[in-house]
C-alpha cells in the first residue's frame, strides 16, 4: 500500500510517498529558513502562505519521482499537530481533500509520532520497544516507545527546549538567531576547563530537564568576564558540555530505569557531533545500541509522516470527512491504530 505524507507544522513543507512493501519511494522538502531568516524568526502567516504555494508542486514532484498515479495511492496522511495552527491547517485541508477526491482513507498524524518513528525509514531499523530522545528547538523529551501509538513520556523539559537554549545562548554570544550550529563550531576552540556550568536536575532522581538556567549562567559569565573572542569560545564550550552531559546522564538513566537496550535519538540537536560521541560512549557502557534517522530525517520532513500514516492506514484507521488541526496535542494521549 502506498501512502502520501504531508508535513506543514512549522517552517518546512515536506511531502513523501511510502510503500508498505518497498519502503520510501520519494520525498521532497521545501525549507522556509531563507524566507524567515531576514526576520530572525518564524512568521506564522508567511509560513502558512508559503505552505499553500509549495505543497502541491512538491506532491507532483514526488508522484513523478515515485512513478505513482492517483490510482496507486491507498491513503493520505497529514500532520494535524502540534504546531502553528495556520500552517497545520494547510496540510490538513490539502491532505483531507486529496483523500476524499481519490476515495482513500485520510489519517491525521501526530508530529512527534513522526519523529519517534523516523528511524524506521532506515535499512537497519530498531525493534520495539526502545527509548527515544527527541531534541529540537521546540522539544526535549525522553519517550518509551512500545509500538506504534504506544508512547510513555519518561521525562521532558520543564522550561526551554535544548535547541532553544542553544539558539538563545548563541544569540547572547553574538552568533545570530537561531545559531545552535554556529555555537557548536565556536565551542571547538573553547577551553573546557575555564568555566564549569551546572548540569541541571541531574543530582536528583527523575528524567525531566531544565535548560533555561544554563542561558542565565552564560549571561552571568559573559557579564563577569567580558566578551573577548576566547572567552566567548570558552563559554560556548562550557555551555555545550553542560547540555551534552545533561542529555547523556538522563539517557543513561532512562536506559537503566526501563532496562531497554535500544536508544533512538532524533530532532535537530541530534546532529550535534559532541552529543553523538557522548551518547555512543554511554550506550556502549550500558550495552545498548544507538539509532539515528539519517540527518535529513532528524528535522521536519514528509517521509516520517508518510511512514506513520501508512502504519495507521494499514491498521484500518481513517478520519471522518471533517479535517482538524490540533496546535497543542499531548503525545501520550495517542492510542495504537
Amino acid at each position: 500500500m502506498r501512502v502520501v505524507g504531508i508535513e506543514t507544522s512549522c517552517d518546512e513543507t515536506g511531502v513523501a510517498i511510502y510503500d508498505s512493501a518497498r519502503g520510501l519511494l520519494a520525498h521532497a522538502l521545501h525549507s522556509q529558513v531563507a524566507l524567515h531568516a531576514e526576520y530572525g524568526g518564524v512568521v506564522p502567516e508567511l509560513a502558512s502562505r508559503d505552505h499553500v504555494r509549495k505543497v502541491l508542486p512538491l506532491l507532483r514532484q514526488v508522484m513523478n519521482q515515485a512513478d505513482t498515479r492517483p490510482d496507486d495511492i491507498g491513503g493520505v496522511a497529514y500532520t494535524a499537530g502540534p504546531g502553528l495552527a495556520g500552517a497545520l491547517l494547510v496540510g490538513a485541508a490539502v491532505g483531507r481533500s486529496l483523500a476524499w477526491a481519490w476515495g482513500v482513507p485520510a489519517v491525521a498524524v501526530h508530529h512527534m509520532e513522526g519523529h519517534l518513528l523516523a528511524p524506521m525509514l532506515e535499512d537497519d531499523p530498531p525493534a520495539f520497544p526502545f527509548v527515544a530522545l527527541l531534541v529540537s528547538g521546540g522539544h526535549t523529551q525522553l519517550v518509551r516507545v512500545d509500538g506504534v501509538g504506544r508512547y510513555t513520556i519518561l521525562g521532558e523539559s520543564l522550561d526551554d527546549a535544548a535547541g532553544e537554549a542553544f539558539d538563545k545562548t548563541a544569540k547572547l554570544l553574538g552568533l545570530g538567531y537561531p545559531g545552535g550550529p554556529a555555537l557548536a563550531r565556536l565551542a571547538q576552540r573553547g577551553d573546557p576547563k575555564r568555566f564549569h556550568f551546572p548540569r541541571p536536575m541531574t543530582n536528583r532522581p527523575g528524567l525531566d530537564f531544565s535548560f533555561s538556567g544554563l542561558k542565565t549562567f552564560a549571561v552571568n559569565s559573559l557579564q563577569m568576564q567580558g566578551g573577548d573572542d576566547q572567552t566567548r569560545a570558552d563559554i560556548a564550550r562550557a555551555f555545550q558540555d553542560a547540555v551534552v552531559d545533561t542529555l547523556a546522564i538522563k539517557c543513561r538513566r532512562a536506559l537503566q530505569q526501563t532496562g531497554l537496550e535500544r536508544l533512538v535519538v532524533s530532532g535537530g540537536v541530534s546532529a550535534n557531533t559532541a552529543l553523538r560521541e557522548r551518547l555512543g560512549r554511554i550506550a556502549g557502557e550500558e550495552g545498548a545500541q544507538v539509532f539515528y534517522p539519517r540527518l535529513e530525517f532528524c528535522t521536519d520532513n514528509g517521509a516520517m509522516i508518510a511512514y506513520a500514516g501508512c502504519r495507521r492506514v494499514q491498521a484500518g484507521q481513517a478520519e471522518p470527512l471533517a479535517f482538524f488541526a490540533t496546535p497543542r496535542w499531548p503525545l501520550d494521549v495517542l492510542a495504537p491504530p
Partner: protein
C-alpha cells in the same frame, strides 16, 4: 520602584508577590529585559504564586502558553520570534484580549501598536550576576498593584 534580586529564588518570590498584588482583576504586564535576564523566571513565580503546580514552559516556540488556575485565565506571551506586530492578528490576539485575563508579555516591543497599553511595565536589568527589577505603573490599577507590592515586602 526598584528591587535588587540577588538570586533566582528571590525572582520567583517576587513573581509570587506580584501575582498577589494584582488581586483578582485582569492585568496586562509587559516584561522587558535581555535574554537570560529572568523574565520567564518571574512569570514562573507569578504562576506558582497563584497555585500553579505544573510546568512553565518557555513560550518562545509556541508564542503563547495559556494557563487556567481556578477561575483565572493567564496568558504568557513571548513575542521574541515574532517578525512583525501585525502577526499578532494572525495569532488571534483579539480573541485573547476579550477575556478578563492576566497577560504577561515578554518582548512586547515586537508587538508594538497591536498590544493594548499595559498596566505595569517591568524592566529587568543585569547587575553582574544579580538583577535589578524596576516596576513602572501605567494605569491606576497598575499603580495600586505596585503600591501594594511595595508595602508588602
Amino acid at each position: 520602584m526598584e528591587i535588587l534580586i540577588p538570586h533566582e529564588d528571590e525572582m520567583l518570590a517576587l513573581g509570587a508577590r506580584l501575582a498577589q498584588a494584582c488581586g483578582h482583576s485582569g492585568a496586562i504586564i509587559f516584561l522587558h529585559g535581555e535574554l537570560g535576564a529572568g523574565k520567564t523566571t518571574l512569570v514562573r513565580g507569578f504562576l506558582r504564586g497563584l497555585g500553579h503546580a505544573g510546568k512553565v514552559k518557555s513560550p518562545t516556540y509556541t508564542l503563547v502558553e495559556p494557563y487556567e488556575i481556578g477561575q483565572r485565565h493567564i496568558y504568557h506571551f513571548d513575542l521574541y520570534r515574532l517578525a512583525g506586530p501585525q502577526e499578532l492578528e494572525y495569532l488571534g490576539i483579539r480573541d485573547f484580549l476579550e477575556k478578563n485575563a492576566i497577560f504577561l508579555v515578554e518582548w512586547p516591543e515586537r508587538g508594538a501598536h497591536y498590544l493594548p497599553p499595559p498596566d505595569i511595565e517591568v524592566h529587568i536589568d543585569y547587575a553582574g550576576s544579580e538583577r535589578v527589577v524596576r516596576f513602572e505603573p501605567r494605569t491606576v490599577a497598575g499603580k495600586n498593584a505596585v503600591l501594594q507590592l511595595g508595602s508588602n515586602p
